[in-house]
Symmetry: none
Subunit: 209 residues, 4 copies
DNA sequence: CATGAATGAGTCTTCATTCAT
DNA sequence: AATGAATGAAGACTCATTCAT
């Protein structure tokens, strides 16, 4: 689906509002008002509110698949390096599109939109398959342990990042870093998250201390 | 707040529906119909839909604080044992009240209800303080590492459990365990989660392999 | 209809609230709460909200008829003295039961309750008949003019008093008498109203300057 | 606020119904049905039922101020002529917009809508000020008495007209004029009211018989 | 192509009243 | 005799969507 400039503008406003108030908590009028367009435009451009949500999903998720797959295929990297890059990619993706990831948590929790649910699941399955292959490769090369629960490991990565993203204001308060500039704090947070998860994964994957 | 039998019945129906469809996605009529009561009863008993949500929150969260604090004070347990018990307690709590935890993810994501948000935050802060003390105790006794990011560690526990709970159907499919009885699968899942997170925490907290 | 103590208590609370918020703007729950009784009592004692209103009307109006008629029959008074006494009686009645008269203005404006409307009309007609007789008596005695529009005259009395009662706060402000004690101001107002209306009536009824 | 044709249509239906049944006694559905429009239109056009009432008030009162002030400034008229014109203007205004004036009596009685109450008060204050000036002018010119209670005088005018308007059916019955055509009766009533009030005012204002 | 006007269905809440106790 | 619990009906209002222009 090709999106023109105005459609992008609408969809990004919707993304922000959905993240702030939830899908059902946001009216198309809210979106139209904030985006500075006519109410009828949402139906006109996307068919319905639901369909707009699907368009948003497609826009944000579409690119992910390709990047992951190409990363995996890179022959110049060791299995552990690949895993670490996956972690950093995920952290970057979530932190860059925080609104979208907040929305997705809500969408996955409620079974409302089957189209999105199905698409989200297929992405997750594809990711799991790719990572499983990567793990198997590491095991064959003798750098990874034998028994590894890939799903739980992925859940730890995804869950930790989501949880941290959702409660970053609180993290900031707890660590007394309210005065730090936003960008600097985000960089710090991403670095710490990266080290944290890599440490966890190393403990799961390898026999090293 | 004392809740009578009918109020509990209504609140539990609401809990399930909120988990399935979200707060805004569930109408009071839906709840009343499923609970087999009159629509007006929600306002009659709780004052409003919002207030009912707060009553649900209070009902589910009220007991948590006390249990955590008493666990921590138990002198007969080592710091690591306490941490491990905390993990198991959390897993049990989430898996037993899956609906409620799904709802909470949605509530925390959207800033809708300030009363709940505030209460939820105070619970989180109290928990973090308690765990921090526990960690400090372990450090003083020389069994835990010096530098530990308590918040990230907690985020890993909470995030992993939530993520796993949310996607358990998918976990089942991936591991080809659809034929396993529900209860057996849940037990298996909890055991694996427990071992998984304890392993992670050991890697974070101690110097052992 | 005999009213017991509790019924009087309810009816007087209702009277105040109806005056403040209008009949439809006051809920039976409001009345019950303020009167400190159970909600069901209103239906229990009066049958319905509407019937309670009728009971209130009967309570307040019942006594009026007799007093007016006996006044008229008093042989020791001149026609003008009788008219003047009628004026003072009316002023006293309205100022003493301000709440009730506020309500009546609303009831008469809207055609809601036929029972009350009919009763109110019969009171008005009876009064007009009595006054007409009184006027005729004065005319026969040669102290009153020939052509007198009794209705318009009565409307002036009733209208002036109502209007003044309704806007007394404003009258007080305009005349800079906010510091005067309530009771003192009410006395002043009644005296001025009395003189004012008697002056008007004299101009209508007699040929004197 | 500019009102389009449909808004006027709705507002005039509402005016009639409010006069017949009171503000709280009239539902937006009643108004919509009688005006032949969709229920949602009331909120769509005016924001709320309350706001519609305010729009009605503004529509009816807006023009009054200017007319009164310009009348007062007319140098070619004597003070008494001005007072008499004020009386006729008031009678015409009330008799022409009977519904609106019925509503206003209810609104002023109950303290419900602060916006309208405030606006109504400011109109009344302005009118009193203008009339006061007019009276002072007459006193300076020696045609009016020294001691005049402007407020009570105005209350007599407003009260008499309102009272007569409200009970005109009864006036008709009493005078056996049911067979007279409506328009003829209204003219008669206005003429009589005019003479009646002018007589009263002359008695208050001047020393003539 | 884009939109202002309009709407039917749905929202939550409040209402006066009833009924079992 | 008196009431707490309960309810169907109605309340005002918001919603996503449609349609004529």
């Amino acid at each position: 689906m090709e999106l023109n400039e105005k459609q992008i503008q609408i969809i990004e406003t919707a993304e922000r509002l959905f993240a702030e108030r939830g899908f059902d908590g946001t009216s198309v009028r809210d979106i139209a008002d904030e985006a500075g367009v006519n109410v009828a435009m949402i139906s006109y451009y996307f068919g319905s509110k639901e369909k707009m949500m699907e368009a948003l999903f497609e826009l944000r998720v579409g690119s992910v698949k390709i990047r992951v797959e190409s990363l995996i295929k890179d022959e110049s990297l060791s299995p552990l390096e690949k895993v670490n890059m996956l972690i950093d990619e995920h952290i970057d993706r979530v932190m860059q599109k925080q609104c979208f990831h907040k929305i997705m948590m809500g969408v996955v929790a409620t079974n409302k939109n089957p189209a999105i649910l199905k698409a989200a699941n297929s992405v997750k399955i594809r990711n799991a398959e790719v990572v499983t292959e990567l793990i198997k490769d590491g095991q064959k090369k003798g750098v990874f342990k034998k028994k590894i629960d890939v799903i739980l490991m992925m859940n730890t990565m995804v869950g930790t990042v989501s949880q941290t993203m959702m409660s970053q204001t609180y993290y900031r308060e707890f660590n007394k870093q309210q005065d730090m500039p936003d960008e600097e704090f985000e960089l710090l947070l991403k670095r710490r998250l990266s080290i944290h998860i890599k440490t966890l994964f190393k403990a799961i994957l390898t026999n090293e201390a």
